[in-house]
């Protein structure tokens, strides 16, 4: 069922996007380290081109497999990196916070690199995975994780701002702006995580007859959700809580990663095929 040309396009494309994301990260480091304004522009363009190639790879795989390419560990890791990349590109454009690329561009590279190390064979879907709801479920997860990934990067700057020196310190906006960006990114993530859990529940109802089974993946997405709910409320309580909220934005993203990688490796359950 696999088409060799499309398979090759995907393989070469994936290699190319890894290089592009990596080069983008390097330029962002140059931007942050030296006083080179143009480096940020170069970093942005490299990540943008990497993102475009990434999109093509995902489309090529989808056409090749004849289905949404969002079902196994490789496909989801790749989409996860794609989600962080698109959220990053949008947030940097909107808020003009270029130094963010120093944290988030390498994050995109690492997640894409993790994807690259997975088995990239195209496998056929077991019946339970053949559902339109699965598409919604995974697409919403990607946006949610992208939002949380950006929030994580900004929260690191928020927490480390006092320790930054030299040109980098000048390039980081004030706490109020950082807080606002974290909030915007978390609220995007929270809305989509809620959607993700609801579409997942609808799918579970169609496939197994119950919305919620407390399998480890579901449970960890609930833990993640609770952490961000606490974040949203802590923020409402003033400056001291703002710091705590930033810590939660970091912890929340660690939970996101655990939900995705840790649960698959350590805690088996219904979702263990994914």
């Amino acid at each position: 069922m696999q088409n060799n040309t499309l398979g090759n396009i995907e393989s070469i494309g994936f290699m190319a996007l890894l290089i592009l994301y990596f080069a983008g990260s390097i330029f962002y480091f140059i931007y942050a380290g030296a006083k080179k304004e143009k480096a940020a522009r170069a970093g942005y363009i490299l990540v943008l081109v990497g993102f475009a190639v990434h999109t093509l790879c995902i489309i090529a795989r989808g056409v090749n497999a004849g289905r949404l390419p969002l079902t196994n560990q490789f496909e989801f890791a790749s989409a996860f990196a794609w989600g962080i990349a698109i959220c990053f590109l949008v947030f940097v454009k909107k808020f003009g916070f270029d130094a963010l690329g120093m944290v988030v561009a390498p994050l995109v590279f690492l997640v894409a690199g993790y994807a690259f190390m997975q088995n990239r064979e195209i496998n056929s879907l077991m019946p339970a995975l053949q559902s339109g709801w699965l598409g919604f479920h995974v697409c919403t997860a990607i946006i949610a994780y992208g939002g949380f990934g950006v929030a994580f990067g900004v929260a690191l700057f928020f927490l480390l701002k006092g320790k930054l020196k030299g040109s980098l310190a000048e390039r980081v906006p004030d706490e109020k702006t950082l807080d606002n960006i974290i909030y915007r990114a978390v609220s995007l993530g929270f809305l989509f995580l809620t959607l993700c859990m609801i579409t997942g529940a609808i799918w579970a109802k169609r496939a197994w007859g119950s919305y919620w089974n407390w399998d480890p993946k579901e449970t960890w997405s609930l833990i993640t959700w609770i952490i961000y709910a606490i974040f949203l409320h802590l923020r409402l309580r003033g400056a001291v809580s703002g710091r705590k909220a930033a810590v939660l934005a970091v912890v929340g993203f660690v939970c996101v990663i655990f939900t995705y990688v840790g649960v698959n490796l350590l805690l088996p359950g219904l979702h263990s095929y994914a």
């Binding site: 339970a128 496939a207 197994w208």
Partner: protein, 366 residues
């Protein structure tokens, strides 16, 4: 637009008028929500890391005597259904109700002050309402839903638990792709009620069949075989058993044939272990064991038609066929869960996207 609490009607509204008692203040406070949410999250961690529903012996093996004792004492073997988890959830509902009720007048006032235009004012209030409805409808669903399980081969009819309905499995089909992976499992079903009304349809994975208020799910499948039992050459019994089940001669129940596992297309790995090359019955074999008075007499692999002899008795397994397991669910409150989820999502959207946008518009107007 970023300032914490800016202009937001907060949970302390109502202060000054009839100031509530200390404990009531705590019950509706955000501190209390933090405590509850934190413990619930911690319980979820425990419930995902500790295997749920295992036996005490299994916990002892995994965590030692003390560990097992702690787990069973604290109900960590069934976190999500234990009394303290239910209590925490109930307290979260109380917290949500009190906080929503006490904030209501302030939100209403702010909304009226906006000329009844600012929907954004309601965002977090609607979110909390959705959350509350979701917890309540989910909990109510646990008590109002019913579940029955039946399994059988094509052609069999059986009652559906105590529901008064009966179900006939008209057909069961496993469709395979070219590479022998399963594409779909489909069961043709007819469901009848006591007064003779009936409805037919198919249930396949992701596509349940609805009839008489129940949804019928194609859950799983396995292999069954017919077993003929002979005594001194004369047939004394015929039974149909599924993998994992056993049968015995009626006059000698202590002699048991157990049908452990079925290999549709038996093959051998290099290390000597057995597996099935394809899901097609090209080289069918059943793994069986024979017991007498609880101890094993023997075990082996038998092709259909092979006679397994024990003194004057012999067992012959024949005609392997696939059975299907159907789960029937009656869930009268599922629509309420759906409505709650929609309210929650609408509330979140208003909080995060309508409200900031309205604020911006107001600021620009000023």
């Amino acid at each position: 637009m970023t300032g914490p609490m800016d202009g937001a009607p907060d949970h302390k509204a109502g202060k000054g008028k009839d100031r509530p008692q200390g404990w009531l203040r705590f019950l509706k406070s955000m501190q209390f929500s933090f405590v509850l949410l934190f413990i619930i999250a911690a319980a979820c961690v425990a419930g995902s890391v500790i295997p749920q529903g295992s036996s005490e012996a299994a916990y002892r093996q995994l965590y030692g005597d003390t560990g097992a004792k702690i787990i069973t004492e604290l109900n960590l073997d069934h976190v999500f259904t234990c009394w303290w988890f239910v209590l925490l959830t109930a307290l979260l509902c109380v917290n949500l109700i009190l906080c929503s009720v006490s904030r209501f007048p302030a939100v209403l006032k702010a909304w009226k002050a906006s000329g009844r235009k600012s929907v954004g004012m309601w965002g977090s209030w609607i979110t909390h309402l959705g959350m509350l409805l979701l917890i309540i409808s989910f909990a109510a669903g646990q008590y109002t839903s019913r579940e029955e399980t039946v399994y059988g081969i094509a052609g069999s009819t059986q009652p559906l638990g105590g529901t008064g309905l009966s179900i006939t499995i008209d057909s069961f089909d496993v469709s395979l792709r070219e590479d022998n992976t399963v594409e779909q499992y489909t069961a043709g079903l007819t469901v009848s009620d006591a007064s003779g009304n009936s409805k037919s349809g198919t249930a396949s994975v992701n596509h349940p069949f609805d009839a008489f208020g129940y949804s019928f799910y194609q859950d799983s499948m396995g292999w069954a075989v017919y077993v003929d039992i002979y005594k001194s050459g004369g047939q004394v019994k015929t039974d149909l058993i599924c993998a994992g089940e056993y049968t015995f001669p009626n006059e000698l129940p202590s002699l048991v044939l157990m049908f452990n596992k079925f290999y549709p297309d038996l093959a051998r790995n290099e290390d000597g272990s057995y597996y099935s090359r394809t899901p097609l019955p090209d080289n069918p074999h059943a793994l069986y064991s024979v017991y007498y008075d609880g101890s094993v007499l023997g075990m082996g692999l038998a092709a259909p038609g092979t006679s397994i002899d024990c003194n004057e008795y012999s067992f012959v397994m024949r005609d392997p066929c696939e059975y299907t397991l159907i789960v029937a669910k009656h869930d009268p409150l599922s629509w309420l869960v759906g409505v709650s989820a929609f309210v929650l999502l609408a509330g979140l959207f208003i909080s995060f996207y309508v409200r900031p946008w309205e604020k911006k518009r107001i600021q620009n107007a000023e």
